[in-house]
Symmetry: C2
Subunit: 278 residues, 2 copies
């Protein structure tokens, strides 16, 4: 009931986004529903303007939906960002969904990043990670707490060892630096085995690993009572701001204009930058 109350309080157009291949859509819906129900009391109503909640390019070949929910006072959640993008291309369609859970400086626990980039019905690039907030080389105890003790490596290996799955390297060295050593970064390519194999992988193993990663983040990070000393917050904030700035620069500012034209892209990036306070 908490989840449905939260949804009815701020009906999200994202949940109606009709453009995704069904297994991709179902996976995202299920992840978002978990986030919303678990974090309901943490999140303020959306303040994203309606032309950003849902948008398209002039030719109506690209459609997007973006929602950002800021964390309530006293919540360790800074914001939850959800975005769905769909672009018709000469070669088929590109579908990108993103779930980004950013925490504020009251905690040093990792952020959540999940991104599914589906270039065709049979291929998908996937990033899934708890993003470290501290230099892991200098803080082995942080590595132990959030990455070793949580068994994230087992989940990463489970996915990486599946058929059709290959390691994937972001072309951005900065994004690679931002990821943790247990980040899932893979390319799932079912090739000639086609859509039914992709449906199977997404509906079974991928979905199960994604849900476990999300659960770890919700339990250990977003809902933890781990408190940061006031004096240590500055370097955390500085590092978080760099992650936000560079992510927008590398990912959105580079890709949105191509997909939606400069005007729509500017509006979307502007809204994100406002929420990110960068």
């Amino acid at each position: 009931p908490r989840a449905s109350m939260s949804r009815s309080r701020s009906p999200s157009p994202l949940l109606d986004f009709p453009y995704l291949p069904p297994p991709h859509r179902e996976l995202m819906l299920s992840l978002l529903s978990t986030v919303h129900s678990r974090l309901a009391s943490h999140l303020l109503p959306s303040s994203v303007p309606s032309d950003v909640l849902s948008f398209h390019n002039d030719a109506s070949t690209s459609f997007g939906a973006l929602d950002i929910r800021s964390g309530a006072h006293d919540s360790p959640v800074d914001f939850i960002l959800e975005s769905w993008l769909h672009c018709k291309l000469p070669t088929g369609a590109l579908n990108i969904t993103t779930l980004f859970g950013f925490l504020n400086a009251s905690t040093e626990a990792p952020h959540l990043l999940m991104e599914f980039i589906q270039g065709s019905p049979t291929s998908l690039v996937l990033f899934m990670d708890l993003l470290p907030r501290k230099d892991l080389v200098l803080h082995p105890e942080y590595l132990a707490e959030f990455y070793q003790d949580t068994q994230l490596e087992k989940l990463r290996q489970e996915l990486n060892n599946l058929p059709y799955v290959q390691p994937y390297c972001s072309s951005s060295l900065y994004i690679r630096s931002v990821l943790s050593p247990t980040a899932v970064a893979v390319n799932i390519n079912c090739g000639a085995d086609g859509e039914s194999s992709m449906e199977e992988v997404m509906g079974a193993q991928l979905s199960s690993v994604a849900k476990e990663v999300l659960q770890i983040w919700l339990d250990k990070c977003a809902c933890s009572s781990h408190q940061m000393e006031e004096s240590k917050r500055n370097v955390l904030i500085q590092r978080d701001n760099l992650i936000k700035t560079k992510t927008v620069e590398i990912d959105l500012s580079a890709n949105l204009p191509r997909m939606f034209g400069p005007n729509v892209a500017e509006k979307i990036v502007g809204t994100i930058q406002k929420t990110f306070r960068i």
Copy 2:
């Protein structure tokens, strides 16, 4: 003449280590000769005791050679560590060679790590990296200077795209954290194509990429005049000490006793810890 003088001043038993497969041995000899000739004026004579310079287990099935050359006063080199290990196993022989170039806190330029772990005549795990001295997420300008502008990514891709080459993940999350986003971490497995293919890969592409990476480190890092402010040295030293401590703990302390027995292993690890000042 500088190189040969330096060599005759401190004749290294490493160069006579007779146990490696020839292509592996030639590659290491060539890398070491470049290091010695370029850094001759930087390095003090070896102070490693003779029973560490060359050692073996009681059964004489495992042989090792280790040399550490500290940097001279006013050199940015902290030390150069070279080690060669050979273990006869029921399944064949394991050969591990390591070249570690550590800089001191007069510079913040990256350290050098090269490690070749040859589990059989047809398979080799390889780590090759300039190890960052700073948190790359917090210091994008450092990432740009040492990793983007040096084109290390092109070299990484060159190797990763070769036949027989697969990405390799260290089982230690800490080691993964220590590596840069352009680290070469691969498994070369020539399988049924056998020794001649491995010889070809090692003698041609691997050797050429390794020499280029070494050259970048020598030019941009070990011989750079980039000076660190006194005030920033403490965190650098703290981070370097963690890298040294954890590397010894994860790599040597865990593996040497198995290969050489506890007494020999203790002597080797002790010598390394003394040089590392940890």
